[in-house]
Structure formats: C-alpha cells, structure tokens
C-alpha cells in the first residue's frame, strides 16, 4: 500500500493541515490587525524586508505569513464542510437512485444532467448576492457543484453491486430496502466515494478561491487565499508578493491533492480513471 506513495504530495498536504490546525499557535502576528506604518514591507529576502515579517505585509500592514496560515484554515473548513454536504447528498441520492431504479432513477438522473449542464458558479454568485456572503453561503454554493458529480458516479457503482448474489440473498432473507442500502450497498461503494472525495478536494479549493476572488466568498477581513490574491491584484507592479504568494499556496496544495487523489484512485478504484 505504501509503495509509490507520492511523498511530496503527502508532505504538502500534512504541512497545509498543520498550518490550518495550529494557525493561532504558529502565526507570528494577528491576521487581521492593521498597522498602517508597517504597510507594504517586502518579504525578508527582498531589499527592505525584515525578519519581523518573513513574507512581508499587505496594504493595511497585516502580516502575509499569518494570513496565509489562517487562510489555510478557511480553505480546510470550507473544503471539509462542502465535501461533507455535497458529497453526502450525492452519495445518498446515488445509492437511492441506483438501488430503487425505475421512474425515480430516471427523474433523479434528469436532475443530475440539468445540474451538470449549468455552470454552478452563476448560482454561487446569485446565492452570495441574495443570501449575503458567509461561510454558510459558500458551503451551499460549492455543495451544489459537487452533489451531481458524486450522485452520477455512485449510482453507476450501485448498479454494478446491486446485481451481485449477496444483495439477492439479503432480499430473499427479508431485509428491508433501507437496510440493504445501508448495510450491503453502502460499504461496497465507500471505496469509490473515498476516491471521489480526494479527487474533489482540489476542485473545492479552487472553487472557494475563485468565489473569494470574485467577492462572493467568506467576507473580509477573514483571510482567504482567493481574497488575498484579489486584494493584491491592484498592487502587482509594486508589491508582487501580495498576489503571487497565496497563489503559489493554492497551486501547490491543489497539485498535491490531485496527485494524491490520482494515486489513491489507481490503488483503490482504477476503473474511475476516466474522471
């Protein structure tokens, strides 16, 4: 199992989780307190940088490194919640649709088709404007993006499992459909579900960053990586570190999760390769 483990990816993922969990302990400064006399100090290796602010400060004199740590936290919380809600709903709908079949199945799959055909970012933006920005809004918005993808793949898997002998035996034995779905079908699609979860971490992180960048994410001054990129955009010619550093963080983390997801898929569920 440990053979060919993508160590670099695992390292980046562990570092990200460490930053997210221990942000209050390892941050040298407050992520939101402003200090205008210390604004726009470059990173330590640039001319004019100080060891007090290793990655420099932003236009309000806030420490970029501390904001990066807390931003990891926002990313992780949004990712965990969105995967839980969106993935969970998709899992349940996929199992029910696949197992029950018939009219319910074709109705649910029509809805899945419709959800996949329409760019969810537009709904996410609509939600942000009507419901107001916030954690709740962004989790709902990203869940809308996820559920249909999960439902479709899980359903396909259920169709394959459903025809096997042990399901027929359970039915003959008198198990209720609910019980069959929960104890016989569910454990057999969990592998696929786990792979789907890991493959979608990157998708969620980019979605969260994109929405924050567009002013529809977690509201400022809460540091989010996407928001940091957006805030630094206007200063790209004089203070490159404001936009480029959080962007590097996003890219590295997404890359790590994608490579790790690919590896896990090849290990657990190679037939999902088309995804």
């Amino acid at each position: 199992m440990m053979r060919n483990l993508p160590w670099l990816s695992v390292g980046i993922i562990v570092a990200m989780l460490f930053m997210a969990i221990f942000a209050p302990l390892i941050s040298p400064h407050s992520p939101i307190d402003q200090s205008l006399p210390e604004k726009l100090i470059p990173p330590v290796w640039e001319e004019g940088g100080t060891t007090k602010f290793i990655l420099g400060t932003d236009i309000f004199g806030r420490d970029v490194l501390s904001r990066l740590f807390y931003g990891a936290r926002v990313s992780m919380i949004v990712t965990a919640l969105a995967l839980l809600v969106g993935g969970g709903v998709g899992l349940v709908i996929g199992i029910v649709s696949g197992y029950v079949g018939g009219r319910l199945d074709s109705l649910l799959m029509r809805i899945v088709d419709a959800a996949l055909a329409f760019p969810t970012i537009l709904f996410a933006l609509l939600l942000a404007v009507t419901m107001g920005q916030g954690l709740q809004t962004i989790v709902i918005a990203i869940s809308l993006l996820l559920w249909a993808r999960f439902a479709r793949v899980v359903r396909g898997e259920v169709l394959a499992v459903k025809g096997r002998d042990f399901v027929a035996l359970a039915r003959v034995h008198g198990c209720s459909p609910m019980r069959i779905m929960a104890t016989h079908i569910l454990p057999n699609v969990l592998n696929t579900f786990m792979v789907l979860l890991t493959l979608h971490v990157g998708v969620v992180i980019v979605a969260e960053a994109s929405l924050s960048f567009l002013g529809a994410g977690v509201p400022p001054p809460t540091p989010s990586w996407g928001l940091m990129v957006a805030e630094g955009r206007g200063k790209i010619s004089s203070a490159w570190w404001l936009s480029l550093i959080p962007g590097i963080a996003i890219t590295l983390v997404v890359l790590a999760f994608n490579l790790f997801g690919d590896w896990l898929r090849d290990r657990l569920d190679p037939k999902l390769r088309q995804l």
């Binding site: 029509r110 088709d113 419709a114 996949l116 055909a117 329409f118 760019p119 969810t120 970012i121 537009l122 709904f123 933006l125 609509l126 939600l127 942000a128 404007v129 009507t130 419901m131 990157g202 980019v206 960053a209 994109s210 960048f213 567009l214 002013g215 529809a216 996407g226 990129v229 957006a230 955009r233 790209i236 010619s237 490159w240 936009s243 480029l244 962007g247 996003i250 890219t251 997404v254 890359l255 994608n258 490579l259 390769r273 088309q274």
Partner: protein, 306 residues
C-alpha cells in the same frame, strides 16, 4: 437523429425553466425584492412604481406569472449601476466575450490535439511526460492567479504585453492564454486517453494490416474517433469555460459578459445579475444544441440509433 436533437432541445428548455424559477424564488424569498431591485438612493416614488410593475403586492403565483411574461418579452429590469435596461447592456458586452472565447478554444485545440496524439502514440516518452506535467499543472493553477502571474511576468517585468483592457491585437494575447490553459489541460488528457483506447482497437489493427502508413492510421482513422469524447464531455468544459471567462475578464478588465457578471456581484446589482444568468442559460442552451448536432453528425452511432 431528429429524435435525438428534439430530446436534447427539450432537456434544454426544462433547464431554462428551472434556472428562471430559481432566479425568481431566490430573489423573492431570501430578502426584500424591493431592496434587491432598487439602487440604494431610490426615492419613495421609485419604490411604489416598482411594486406596481412587478406586482409585488399580489400573491406569489401572480408575481411569478408577471416575471415569466416579462422574461419572455425580454424585459429583465433596469441595472442599478448603469440605469439602463439590463438586456441592452448584455448585448453591448457580448461581442467582446465572443472575441476571446473562440480564440482561447482555437489555441486549446492547436495545443491539445497534437500533444494529446503524440503522447498517446509515444506513450512514456519524454513528450508524454512533459505534456502530462503541463496538464497536471494547468489543472491545478487557478485561472485568476495564472492571469495575474502572466501580467507580472510579461507586463510588469518584461514590459512586452499590455496588462488590461482591449485595443491592439497584443491585448488579446494574455487573456487568450489565461482562458485557454484550463482547456488545453483538459482536452489534452481526454484526447490522450481516448487515443490510447482507439490505438488498441480492431479497426486500427485492420488499417495497419492493410498496409496504410502510420500517419494515415493515426491522423485519419484515430483522430476523428478521439475527438468524440471531447464533444460528448463538452458540458464539463462549459462550466469551466464560463468560470474561466468571468475570472479572466475580471483580471484583464476585459469589457465582456464575464466582467459584467463580476460587476453585478461587486455592486450587488441584482437585476443585472439575474439577467446575466438567464441570458447565459439561453446562450449555453444554444451552444449545447449546436454541439449536440455536431456530435450526432460526427458519430453515426448517435445519428442512426432510434
């Protein structure tokens, strides 16, 4: 084929109805529609006039009726910020988006088709590994950040290319690359994997046994079949393309629909956002329908299945 197209058209109309309904109810149920529809400095008379035109004192189903009739007549309200009918604004911006999206798609095709084919034919070679790395990086890099990075390198540091707005042909370069990168990565992976399947199939073996040259086999027999999945997975790319257009136009201050969507969000201009979403849904429906027709045309299995 007619049946297939009609079925797809029907699905598109259902989607459009769904989008319109959701837009209506989100606007009515999550807050006060009068506040959403009017700018902050609106007078009392504006409020009364709006309540009358939208029928806001009528029951919900009547309001919905009025809304649907208005949408069908192309009346989607007046933008807070621009004080002009939103549909008019939409059509004035549309041509600018239609200038970079096709450019990005052509760029993506020019890059992805040869790279996808070569990496499948020479599986495991240097080219395969390099293009695989490009694909993985292209997928992991958020579009909005790539745009800023390109501005930093080519505008700020090197001073070769303009960083914002329209104008000379040079203004097209960075937005096109930014928008195209996501597509290049996706197309390339897809073409490579479907080429690998096809290279292994019976008809390719037959073509080789017949003594056709490798070039004819790959470029004539395989390519056509390898492009089918790109078309059939078009919907997946569509979502990315819309997101890509919004962030790319935002980064480069490109006055298209994407930038308009961003402005609607930033200025909390609900009538504008509502119109952009409904009009986008119509556009997407039309484009998907064209792709479906093309798909049926290229793949006889779809055309002939009744």
């Amino acid at each position: 084929m007619r049946r297939y197209i009609l079925q797809r058209l029907w699905q598109g109309i259902i989607l459009l109805a769904l989008v319109t309904t959701i837009v209506f109810f989100l606007g009515r149920l999550t807050g006060n529609p009068v506040d959403l529809m009017l700018p902050e400095d609106a007078t009392e008379e504006d409020r009364i006039a709006l309540i009358e035109t939208l029928g806001l004192d009528a029951p919900m189903y009547k309001q919905f009726g009025i809304f649907v009739v208005n949408v069908l007549q192309g009346d989607l309200g007046v933008s807070h910020r621009y004080r002009r009918p939103v549909v008019e604004i939409f059509f004035s911006r549309l041509p600018n988006t239609l200038k970079i999206v096709p450019a990005a798609m052509i760029l993506a095709m020019i890059m992805a088709i040869p790279l996808g084919i070569v990496s499948a034919v020479r599986r495991g070679s240097m080219i395969d590994r390099v293009s695989g790395t490009i694909a993985v990086l292209g997928i992991a890099t958020p579009n909005f950040w790539l745009g800023i990075l390109l501005i930093y390198i080519f505008s700020v540091q090197l001073g070769w290319l303009p960083s914002a707005r329209m104008g000379t042909p040079l203004h097209y370069v960075l937005p096109t690359i930014t928008l195209g990168t996501f597509l290049v990565a996706g197309f390339m992976r897809l073409i490579r994997s479907s080429m690998l399947d096809i290279l292994d199939s019976e008809f390719v073996k037959l073509a080789r046994i017949k003594g056709l040259s490798e070039t004819t086999v790959v470029w004539k027999h395989c390519l056509r079949n390898a492009l089918i999945p790109v078309l059939s997975l078009w919907g997946v790319f569509m979502g990315g393309l819309v997101t890509g257009a919004i962030v790319t136009e935002t980064v480069f201050a490109w006055p298209g629909i994407g930038r308009l969507t961003f402005e609607a969000v930033i200025f909390r201009d609900y009538p504008l956002l509502q119109a952009v979403i409904i009009m986008d849904a119509v556009l997407i429906l039309l484009i998907n329908l064209m792709v479906d027709i093309l798909y049926a045309y290229i793949d006889p299995r779809i055309r002939l299945a009744e």
